[in-house]
């Protein structure tokens, strides 16, 4: 799956897409593939304040729980409630219908420190090498 060029990416495998000061956040295709079948998603409430690097939700596969970390600070303006009923959207369309939250950013410039698509692809290629070593 291609990593959209207009997104930014974290080392914890979240993506961020900023449009007009609002960041849509989700997990990457690499992340969903590492997790396996997603069966449960726990999201923050609208209005919740996110702090950079702090956990704001959980994704559960059959075998494990993984925390989701905020790529940037801000206030949650929308959550993807579809994920409650159909968590498998995170597997089938992680960069699209599997989005998790929209956040009104406290400081839009924070996003600039994140990886772009090329850097992220290089980052996961390196991870792949480690795993098979």
């Amino acid at each position: 799956m291609a990593y959209p060029a207009n997104f930014r990416y974290t080392k914890e495998h979240e993506w961020v897409n900023v449009e007009g000061g609002v960041a849509t956040i989700g997990i990457t295709d690499y992340a969903q593939s590492e997790l396996g079948d997603v069966v449960f998603v726990e999201l923050p409430k609208v209005g919740a304040k996110l702090e950079t690097g702090r956990s704001f939700g959980n994704i559960e596969s059959v075998k494990a729980v993984s925390e989701i970390y905020a790529p940037a600070a801000g206030e949650v303006s929308a959550t993807n409630d579809e994920l409650t009923k159909t968590p498998e959207l995170l597997n089938s369309d992680p960069h699209g219908k599997g989005w998790m939250v929209k956040v009104k950013l406290a400081n839009a410039a924070e996003i600039n420190s994140l990886m772009d698509a090329a850097a992220y692809e290089a980052f996961i290629a390196e991870k792949g090498k480690e795993a098979s070593a």
Binding site: S33, L35, D37, S61, K63, I68, K127
Partner: protein, 394 residues
Amino acid sequence: MDSVNSAAKTELRKTPLNALHRKLGAKMVNFGGWDMPVEYPSSGGLIAEHKAVRNGVGIFDVSHMGDIRIHGEKTAGGALAAVQHISMNDASKLSIGQAHYSAMLYPQGTFVDDVIVHRLGEDDYLLVINAGTREKDIDWVRQNTSGFDCVVEDLSDAYTQLAIQGPRAAEVLQKLTDAGLSAVKNYWFTHGSVCGLPNRLIARTGYTGEDGFEIYIPGDTATSERVWNAVIEAGKEFGIVPCGLGARNTLRLESKMALYEHEISDSINVWEAGLDRYCKMEKGDFIGRAALAKASSSEVKRTLVGLETIERGIARDGYKVFDCAGEEIGVVTSGSPSPTLSKNIALAYVPPAFAEIGTIVCVEVRSQRIKAQVVPTPFYKRAKKASPQAAGTA
């Protein structure tokens, strides 16, 4: 997100099929010091693997399991006496070709490990033990059988052990062996050729709650890969898939089969674990018997129950259990979504007062407490077949 455990770089042990698992693109994890496949994206992942075993057939590499042979020397019955001393079930009841579930106990009646005891010959036994406890088990067996006239052999590295599990397992394996599998009953075994390899142990056992076989073949990579590939080829028409430890865990949990360090451990005794029916107090003395006689099954402080969450959330291993008044009463030993039942299930230790079916308890899932109900176990039980012959015609 946290990255899922990838295999650590240091000194993990590998089964002879390790390279093949990696070639298949399996996700590998460190399981008790072993680099093992947890799921195969190429099989469709854990849920698909689980369903293949329930509805068709799957193959597992379980070569990390240990094998200890105890056979007699000069005195007739030396090996039997040794097995009777270290194992709680009654091995004198086994016919040649029969196996049973049992456990080795500490003097206090808690678990060294659970085992499958196979009676190979007149005074010849094979104990199949867990991977994570292999060294401990072998030391335990050697120490505690030293006073008996028997020979203890650690055959763990000699075999590749494959589990072929599911309602179509017999049809798949029958293509590869001259042994008549329909004559082999559950928890019995036979010897026969497998893929041309003579005299292989073929046991109708498993850890999935489904019909199936475990076969023991020479532990070199070339032979192991050849047999694995032959099973895959033979199973194609039934949709066979390679299955990892993830599906193995959800399958055994649905069937309420114990996992060491979860439902059984060195601090849980036989009565608490509810494994009374495999513990034969009347057979004579064995390690752990005196403590169990004193502890009495009617006075346990905690007992293993099945839970089903009735509020949104998954009760997982180690989560605390509370009563409705908010008092901590126990702990979840294993918990997972159940792919067969589409419910979130768990096994937990709670005081007997909370063991009645329908009792509502709460499980602490991160910062919240969610309601769960005590339900009958096993969560899943396979339908009995009319006859082994009928299986192939369905």
